[in-house]
Symmetry: C2
Subunit: 207 residues, 2 copies
């Protein structure tokens, strides 16, 4: 875990403890303690993540919280390979989905343009793409928010999304795109060493 | 700004100052001070965001940093409406893009499956979708990372993405999906009151 010892070249606006908790020491978790996850903890995570910016404040991310054994088995059936066990063994699993009907809330969420709801109503393809794009960005906020709320996150996308949508979202029309197992990490939360990352020089160009 | 006064129902794992800095008081910024943004600050933000999880550790997000007046004018030409002025007035603008050739790094980034690079080589459509999905999630990490590095972020997506790709990414094949203006906020950073958010009860179902 040499990466967690990397010192920033300039001081951060948060302490090393926070940088470690949210990013540097946090791992995709698959090893869990027995400590339960409360609805209050999930709400606290959301009450951070909800403030992350989205296009026109659309906030299209939706979350299905699977707690009961019966509900979790319904999800396991659609997970691929090792992800079946990962869902079965997690304290709680969240199915993250994008809501193409997000525009129904725009009179409230985006009062600056009162006509946007009606303008988007007939544009189903545009809404579906906007919902997906912005819900994916919100997934990044939520993973950080879960950690800030003291929870560990194990995101996965090896699954049959169409099967999940039929199983859970036939009425709502939500479109699943990620599952996040949530709980409290046992040790580092992962049996694997942390994989390398690309440096800023490797991902950035400056003009 | 009543939302910033919302108290979580359970204690967070970070202090109120951190919760405010990263989420509750942070705004999509369009009002900037003259304070410059250093490459070291951008590197520090990346050195947090890079640890956020992506599928198979693909890390497909790429960042074009536009500093010079000439380079910034090239971007302004492809921005829509008011976003032209927003780019022109920002200290630095980042063009976020997804790299469909991310698989070139997988022998290093995902050593658990040595054959993945070759397996993905002929699957251009799969790579493009994987790149976009995971780069969008990374955009969420980066926005939080910029704030943790003491910077303010103003993300925008009203622009001609195809035009930007032709302008800047003809050789690399990167696919732009977001522009983030970066700097130090003047006051709250926004002339507008914060828009409402959806509560957890409004976005979540529990089974």
């Amino acid at each position: 875990m040499t990466e967690t010892l990397t010192h920033p070249t300039t001081p951060l606006a948060v302490g090393d403890d926070v940088a470690d908790l949210l990013f540097r020491a946090a791992r995709t978790t698959s090893l869990w303690t027995d400590e339960p996850v409360t609805d209050e903890q999930l709400t606290s995570a959301w009450d951070l993540a909800k403030f992350g910016p989205t296009a026109m404040n659309t906030l299209p991310l939706r979350v299905l919280v699977l707690r009961s054994g019966e509900a979790r088995e319904r999800l396991v059936a659609h997970m691929g390979g090792n992800n079946k066990d990962r869902v079965a063994n997690a304290p709680v699993s969240l199915v993250l989905a994008a809501d193409p009907a997000f525009h129904q809330h725009l009179d409230t969420l985006f009062p600056a343009y009162p006509g946007m709801k009606d303008q988007l109503e007939p544009a189903a393809d545009v809404r579906e793409q906007m919902a997906r794009n912005n819900a994916l960005i919100q997934a990044g906020y939520l993973i950080v928010g879960l950690r800030a709320a003291g929870l560990a996150a194990g995101p996965m996308n090896g699954m049959d999304f169409a099967g999940v949508d039929t199983e859970f979202f036939g009425e709502s029309g939500w479109k699943s795109f990620l599952v996040i197992n949530v709980g409290h990490a046992e040790g580092e939360g992962s049996p694997y060493p942390r994989a390398p990352r690309l440096s800023f020089d490797e991902v950035a160009q400056v003009l």
